[in-house]
Structures are given as C-alpha cells and as structure tokens.
C-alpha cells in the first residue's frame, strides 16, 4: 500500500506546489534539482488565495469521491479485496470530478518509450534522467509524458465560507 500513498501524495504535491516532497524523493531515489523560486507577480492573487484553491480542490475531491477519507484512513489491516472494492468507485468519481475542474494534459504528447526531442527547455517542465551528459541533451526516450493543468475551471469561492473546511461534520437525526 506504500505505493498508493506515495503516488497520491506525489500527485497532490505536484498539483499544488509543483514539486515532490523530500521524503518522497528519497523513497524514489531521486535528487532534487535547483528549481526556480516561484515568482511573485504584482497582480497575482495573494498566497492565501492560492492555498484556498488547493483547499477547494481537496474539498471537491472529498465531496465527490471521499478521497480525503480514503487517504486518511489506516488501510493496513484490510485485505486487497476490500480496498479494491472501495477504491473502484472512488477512483471513478475522483477522476470524473478532477477532469471536470482541471483539464489535465500531458506536457509532451508522445508515446512513452519512443525517442523524443523536447521543444521546451524549462527543467520544471522537462526533466532528464539517467546518463545525462554535461551539456543540454537534445533528446532521449520519453519515459513519462508529464502532466500539465491546461485549464482550471473552479467555481468561485464563497467569501463568507471558511475555506479550511474540507468536509462538514455530518449529524443524522434518527
């Protein structure tokens, strides 16, 4: 189950912060390259707004697919069968709502495993791995197509609402 956790964590870290966390890097045996500091554009929304968007995505995924419940649950004791049964529906819902609000597209639209010459040279968009020469390599085998959020279409946040609430508590009246 370590892999599901790692993948989910990696997914969110990349989606919201653009980088993998250190422990994930360590587990994957990767080394972080120097990444450019996020630029502070004058007219850009305040950092607080950015994290509001991240919280909003979390709360949407929780609402539509209960993803946060799943990630936060200790599933070590359950059989693969039981986990599989729960995840199948969750996966479908999470995928449906993610693709509704964020248009995900590959960074390089190629076939994994074929020789590819990247057009862009931004290390945040294209990462070279393996026997990387000293200079800038012209191309190599496409191992991972990468993901890019093409268009983000989130509903406007309600200013009166506490964005920190990912999911409301539920109280049933019998």
């Amino acid at each position: 189950m370590g892999r599901i956790w790692l993948a989910t964590r990696g997914f969110f870290s990349i989606l919201f912060r653009g980088v993998l966390p250190d422990d994930a890097l360590a587990q994957l045996g990767l080394i972080r390259r120097a990444t450019p500091k996020p630029q502070k554009a004058a007219a850009a929304p305040t950092p607080a707004r950015l994290s509001d968007g991240a919280l909003q995505i979390l709360s949407i995924l929780q609402r539509d697919s209960r993803l946060v419940d799943f990630i936060m649950e200790d599933i070590a004791g359950y059989s693969d069968d039981q986990v599989g049964a729960a995840v199948r529906g969750l996966h479908e819902q999470a995928r449906e709502s993610l693709s509704r609000y964020v248009k995900l597209e590959p960074v390089i639209d190629g076939v994994e495993g074929t020789f590819t010459k990247p057009v862009v040279s931004d290390p945040a968009a294209v990462k070279f791995i393996g026997n990387v020469p000293a200079g800038k390599p012209s191309g190599g085998l496409l191992r991972h197509k990468g993901w890019r959020a093409g268009k983000i279409d989130l509903p406007p946040l309600n200013p009166k609402q506490d964005a920190g609430i990912i999911a409301p508590a539920e109280i049933e009246i019998e």
């Binding site: 609402r63 649950e73 729960a86 309600n158």
Partner: protein
C-alpha cells in the same frame, strides 16, 4: 415572436428545445431544432449547465446551505432550489424534497392547489402545491432562457408544454395554470407521445416514404416515473398522407425508477441474507449504483456478466465500512424481463387496483408492475366507431400496430426494446399479422422537447400536424330523482358532454337536458371521464357507471345575474379550444353563458 420553444415538463427530468421561425422560409425546409443547456446549481455555490433539469425541488431550511451559496445567474437568492442540487441534497434530507410533482398534478385524490408537498415533510417546513412546484420548474426554464437569450424575451415566444396523453382535462388545466403562475404568456399543450412522434418526423423528412396509408404506429413512452401508450394511424386527407391519434392509455405510474429500485431491493435482500442490513440513506446510494450497474450491463456491446456495486462506509472510515455486492446480467434479465416485461398472452391483463375502505393517501402507483400487461390492456381497448376501420384489429379485437416507436430513457436498453417487440410480435402472430417494424428513434431523452418545438413550427404552417381531439369521453353526473333512502346515496347517472375524439376548435351543444340553476349560489356537478367508452354521443345517458368511468374533480358554476334572484334554465355546451383545453359552459335560453370551473378543492371535503 422569433422562436418556438418546446418544453418537456417531465416527472423526473425536464428539457427545453427551440427552433427559429424564419419568415418566408420554404415550408418543406427542415426546421432547425436545438436543445438549450439549462444552468442550474449542481453544488452549493456552483451553477453549471446541463442538458436536463431534474424535476426536483428542495425547500432550503436555515441549516441546509452556507449563506449566499444558492445564487443563480438570474437570481442571487432564490427561495427554492431546483434541479441537480435539489436532487442531491434531497437524498440526505428527504423531508424537504419535492419530486414527482407531475404525478401529484394528475392525482385527483388530493387537493392539487393546496400546499401538500413535500408529502412527508416534518412539521414547520413550508409546503407547496403540486401546481406551484410544477410552476417552479417552468419558471426556472423561463429564467434560464431569458438569461441566455436576452434579446428574445421568453414571454414573447411561442411556447409548447407537453403533458402525458393520459392526462385528463383537469390535469391539463392545472398544467396551464402552473404555466401562468410561472409567468408564461402564449402557451399551448401537446401530448408527449405525439411530441415523440413529431421528433421522429423531424429527423426523417422522408417520413411519407417510410409509412403508408393504413399503417398503425404504437408509441411506447417509458420515462423515469410513468408509462404512456398512444396509437397513431396513417390516414389520408385531401389526397395527402395525414396522421390521426386514435387512442391513448391510462395514466400508469410505473417507470425506470421503479426498475432501479427493484434491483436495489434485490441486492439489499441478498445482503440481508448474509447478515448486512442497510439503512435508508444507504439504500438510496445503492439505488443509484444499481442504475449505473444496470446501464453498464445493458450497454450495447457490453461483455461483462457482472458489475460490482458498493456502498461506501459511513463516517470517515471508508474502506472499513464498505459493503460489497454485485449485480449480474442474470439478475437484470430476471428483474426486468420477468418482473416488468414478462412474456404474457395478449389476454393477460394487469391486476386491478384493489379498493380498500381506508386507503393510504399518496400517489396511486400501478398495482401491477408488468408493463407488457398494461400494453395488452391498452391494445384491447374497445374500438370506437370514429375509428372508421383505420385501426387494424385482429379477430379477438386486439389493435394490431404495424410500427412501434420507443421513447423515454428506459428504452435505451436493448434488452427491453427487444422484449417488447418479441411480446408484440407473438401477439400479432396469434392474430395472423406480420411482425411490427421498429421506427428508429434517436435521442430518447430529448425527443419530446424537440418534437414539441417541431410541432410549434407545424402550427406556424411548416410541417405536418397529427390530428387528435379529446382522448377521452367526458360525463357530468346526474342524481336520479328517487325517494331518499337513509344510508344509500341516490343512484348516479352520467350524461355524455364531450365525445371521444372531439376536435380542437369545435363546440357541441348537449341536447335534451336542462337544469334549473339558482342565481347567486354555486351549483356543483360531479365530473367523470372514460378512455374505454368511445362511442357515447353527446347527450347520451349512462345508467350504470361501472368501472369504466373515472371520477375527476367536480366542476362548479356560480351564476350571477343582474336581474336579481330566481332560477335560470340552462343547458350544457362543450368547447374544445384551439390549444386543446376542454371547456364546459352553461347556456341560458336567452343566450347568456357561464363557464364551469374545475373545483379541485371540493373533492377532499366529501
């Protein structure tokens, strides 16, 4: 007027289609009918467009939604939530959810203008009448149109609202009233199966080459909540092919939701056998999952024989509480094939609703779930003399269609279409006829609204019109003059006031009966209809009411006259307006007229 707007006001979903009226267009050109995407709340604070507006209305309470999260593009703070969000939230709190308002609209056992919905609302929740709830859906559609088409105000367009063919005169009148409440201007009604057939014509401009004189088309419309049958004959008028609506069935409260619920109950029973009990909320989740599983199993080319259905655990423990089950193709075949569409003989009629002394008030759901039996009953309706042999019948009297047109979301499933055709063909074979040909319908969810828009164009002179007339015979009840016997009501006779098939835009005087009405006092008449008795002529008196006549809401008239009090002898006159509305008038000898109004309130008091 620039557009014709067709509105399918459905039991579970509503839709809107429109076509542009082009001045000077060739009348044989295909009108360009388009669907409008309907903006609606899908989550609190999130409005999105969808091709359908779920006919669900939620009455928000103080603790239901965060403040300011119910705004729509045209209204920052609507009083009610309609559409997808209403449906979603209603699962969690059913006491504030109004659904199936349309079925209530046609239910004569309740006061349809009184605030009675949500039926099971807890004390203190604001309630709406079935008319008001329907008006809310219609209003949402009007506002959505005005938000999207600001240059062509809704009230200036020609609007058609569809109703089930089985709606009686009262339900039709109430539908028009709802439209009026919703701020509609120029509005006319159209029967849904006819609309579905218009949609077929719209898609097949060469329809005259696809059907021929003497053909008989059966329209089977199975929606989320209701089943509706209609027969349309291909006839000839002035040397051209024409279409006549010959018969409509009774209002059957039986649809796709019943089928999905039956599957969910089956799964719940299987779980219960293994010791897992599920509660109402979980049954709702299971209901939805069973629908998805059914659709996957019945999808064209589906190979899987089994679909898992899961109910996720309540609380934050998701995996631990997950309940697993499966729906197999065999289950679906059994529940749908045997429960809802069994292979039956054409003489196998549905069980009659039993009448208990004390009946629980609520929607009069069909007592027999077998759609095929209801179909047999429909095709066995006695022939009317007005048919003029235009309805092909077998030796046993069974109407024998040559073609069948399907409509409604349930009939996406090939299994169900094939089964209906199989059953029909078996019946036709026994009567010595060749098999029916299915007419390929396309968009089963939107055909009705599309067809309504097409019909609106036909009213403008482009395209063919189906001639129908009143699909029932109507009667006024008259108490016999007999000595009073304690405890026994005087026997009731029924006077025919509107014959079956009476055409739009005609009037008929009822001969041979005059009533003395007292001026200044309301006079009330009991009102009946029949889909089965088709040969009663205006003025005919029925001595024995029997099961063929259904009582509707009473009708009343209040005579006001300038020349004081007294008794005015009047006779009845029936008018069917151009928009298909039935009106009854009292006419005095000197020509003064008073309209009789439906009194939907009185029925309850009796």
């Amino acid at each position: 007027m620039k557009y014709v707007i067709g509105i399918d006001l459905g039991t579970t979903n509503s839709a809107l289609a429109y076509a542009e009226i082009k001045p000077g267009a060739d009348r044989f050109d295909t009108p360009d009918v388009r669907l409008m995407e309907i903006p609606q709340l899908v989550n609190p604070g999130e409005a999105r467009e969808g091709p359908l507006l779920p006919s669900a209305l939620y009455i928000p309470g103080v603790s239901d939604f965060p403040a300011g999260s119910l705004g729509l593009p045209w209204d920052p703070e609507p009083e009610f939530v309609t559409g997808r969000l209403a449906q979603k939230r209603g699962v969690e709190n059913a006491g504030r959810l109004v659904t199936s308002a349309k079925s209530w609209l046609s239910h004569s056992g309740v006061d349809r203008t009184a605030p009675i919905l949500p039926w099971n609302a807890p004390e203190g929740v604001r309630k709406l009448s079935p008319v008001d709830a329907s008006a809310e859906y219609l209003k949402h559609l009007r506002q959505a149109w005005d938000a999207k088409m600001p240059d062509s105000p809704f009230t200036e367009q020609k609007v058609l609202v569809t109703v089930p063919a089985s709606f009686d005169a009262v339900a039709r009148e109430l539908t028009l009233e709802a439209a009026k409440h919703a701020g509609y201007g120029d509005v006319a009604l159209l029967e849904e199966p006819q609309a579905a057939f218009y949609a077929w014509i719209e898609r097949h401009q060469d329809w005259r080459g696809r059907v021929k004189l003497g053909d008989l088309i059966l329209v089977v419309d199975i929606g989320g909540g209701t089943t509706d049958f209609t027969l349309i004959a291909v006839t000839e008028h002035a040397g051209e092919l024409a279409l006549d609506r010959m018969a409509v069935g009774d209002h059957i409260l039986l649809g796709g939701d019943n089928m999905d619920l039956a599957l969910a109950r089956m799964v719940a029973d299987q779980l219960a056998e293994k010791g897992t009990r599920i509660d109402t909320l979980q049954l709702h989740a299971l209901w939805q999952n069973c629908r998805v599983a059914k659709e996957k199993l019945l999808a064209p080319g589906a190979k899987s024989k089994e679909q898992p259905v899961t109910i996720l655990g309540k609380g934050t423990g998701l995996v631990g509480g997950t309940i697993k089950a499966a729906v197999t193709r065999d289950d679906v075949d059994r529940v749908l094939g045997e429960g809802f569409f069994p292979r039956v003989a054409s003489s196998d009629l549905p069980q009659r609703q039993r009448r208990f002394g004390l009946q629980e008030i609520g929607l009069p759901y069909a007592a027999d779930a077998a759609v095929t039996k209801h179909l047999a009953q429909f095709l066995r309706q006695p022939a009317s003399s007005a048919e003029h042999e235009r309805v092909r019948r077998g030796a046993s009297g069974l109407a024998a269609p040559t073609h069948v047109l399907f409509n409604g979301g349930v009939l996406y499933a090939r299994l169900i279409r094939d089964r209906l055709i199989e059953v029909l063909n078996a019946w036709l074979g026994e009567e010595g006829f060749s098999p029916v040909q299915p007419l390929a319908g396309e968009d089963l969810m939107h055909a009705v609204s599309r067809g309504a828009a097409y019909y609106g164009m036909a009213l403008q002179g482009a395209g063919v019109r189906i001639r129908g007339g009143v699909p029932r015979t109507y009667y006024v009840g008259i108490e016999s003059s007999m000595p009073a016997v304690p405890g026994i009501a005087a026997p009731l006779k029924a006077l025919t006031v509107a014959p079956f098939g009476m055409e739009e835009g005609t009037a008929v005087s009822i001969p041979g009966r005059e009533f003395g009405l007292i001026v200044g006092q309301p006079a009330e008449f009991r009102f009946f209809s029949s889909t089965v008795r088709k040969n009663d002529t205006p003025g005919a008196l029925i001595e024995d009411l029997g099961d063929d006549l259904q009582e509707l809401s009473p009708i009343e008239v209040n005579l006001t006259s300038e020349d004081g009090t007294g008794t005015v002898p009047v006779s009845f006159e029936t008018v069917v307006t151009e928009t298909g509305v039935l009106q009854l008038w009292c006419v005095a000898r000197d020509g003064r007229r008073w309209k009789l109004e439906f009194n939907v309130r009185e029925r309850l008091a009796q």
